[in-house]
């Protein structure tokens, strides 16, 4: 029974992604001039491994928003793995150095997050957020990100989100709405 459910879900997912892809193709056909912009954007401003890092970072952020230490720790471990898997091969020498520095620092914070209590996780999340922001500035991303800022936590702390609605990872349910969008990253 469980298997059946799983396969139905899988088929549905497949179907959705198919129609999505088809729609995209249609869009490209409809607007021949837009197509060029699109391909240019994807080749220049998207790095698959950076996207994985970002997605792990957002899972971590959401766990902190939900005051969930255990989930945050798991997300931290996943982030360690995706940071280690990052490949700066296609970047310039200068960027490579900067990226290596960012990754090394971020790994340390993610490691601490994977083995700490929630207060400690949030402390490290602050510096980690700075690292990830600097990372995205180099790698770019396919989605729109919002840099949000809470003036109260540790003399002011920022984080990244995929939504412009503020949900505070430093306070969670205690002060969920504290903060504002200070920058949109595209």
């Amino acid at each position: 029974m469980k298997n059946l459910k799983m396969s139905i879900v899988a088929i549905l997912l497949l179907a959705v992604s198919f129609t999505n892809a088809q729609e995209k193709e249609k869009m490209n056909h409809d607007h021949g001039d837009m197509k060029m912009d699109h391909s240019k954007m994807t080749t220049m401003k998207s790095d698959v491994k950076a996207e994985v890092i970002l997605s792990d970072y957002f899972n971590l952020k959401d766990a902190l928003v939900g005051d969930d230490t255990k989930k945050a720790a798991q997300a931290g471990s996943k982030l360690v793995a995706s940071l280690k898997a990052f490949d700066a091969g296609s970047y310039s020498k200068e960027e490579k150095e900067e990226l290596a520095d960012i990754i090394e620092d971020a790994i340390e914070h993610a490691e601490h997050i994977s083995e700490s209590a929630i207060d400690h996780q949030r402390e490290h999340f602050k510096t980690l957020s700075k690292d990830i922001t600097d990372l995205v500035a180099i790698t770019g991303t396919k989605s729109t990100l919002y840099e949000q800022f809470c003036p109260m936590y540790d003399k002011g702390s920022a984080w990244l989100s995929t939504s412009n609605e503020v949900k505070n990872p430093y306070y969670g349910s205690k002060m969920l709405k504290c903060g504002k969008v200070q920058k949109t990253i595209q």
Binding site: E104, D105, E108, H109, E123, T127, D131
Partner: protein
């Protein structure tokens, strides 16, 4: 009664036996040019405090206590020093990038603030390594300044 005697004997033999297992000693005559004190303008009182409270485990040179050669204490020390140096080595400070320095300074502040460092097991014997409230404030202020100037 006999059993207790046998157990005691076994323990004694084990205790003597482990004394022969060698440990690596963390000692060095030279202070590298990358040392925290050499590249930063650290006030003397803070230098002294950091030396006493941090350098035993966070540098290449440990001032070993009297029991340092007795097992299993030597193992515990060795382990703490290895872990401490991996986390932060003051002797190699200047080889870090500004990003890494900033991260480390932040951690130093948090560790002192929360009283997590120096470890309780360390201050139990090194009572002078403990931070008084004023000492903590002084060191944290200095480290914060240093962090802001990066």
């Amino acid at each position: 009664m006999k059993i207790i005697k046998i157990i005691a004997l076994v323990l004694l033999v084990a205790f003597v036996g482990i004394q022969f297992i060698p440990t690596t000693r963390n000692q060095s005559d030279t202070v590298p040019s990358t040392d925290f004190m050499l590249v930063n303008n650290v006030p003397e009182t803070i230098q002294k405090k950091l030396q006493i409270s941090c350098y035993d485990c966070h540098s290449n040179n440990t001032q070993y206590p009297w029991y340092n050669k007795i097992q299993p204490a030597a193992w515990i020390l060795e382990d703490h020093i290895k872990e401490g140096k991996a986390e932060l080595n003051f002797n190699e400070w200047d080889s870090l990038s500004s990003r890494r320095k900033s991260s480390k300074l932040r951690s130093i502040i948090k560790q002192i603030e929360s009283g997590e460092m120096p470890l309780d097991s360390y201050t139990l014997i090194h009572t002078d390594a403990k931070f008084s409230e004023t000492e903590a404030e002084e060191v944290i202020n200095f480290i914060t300044q240093l962090k802001d100037s990066l």
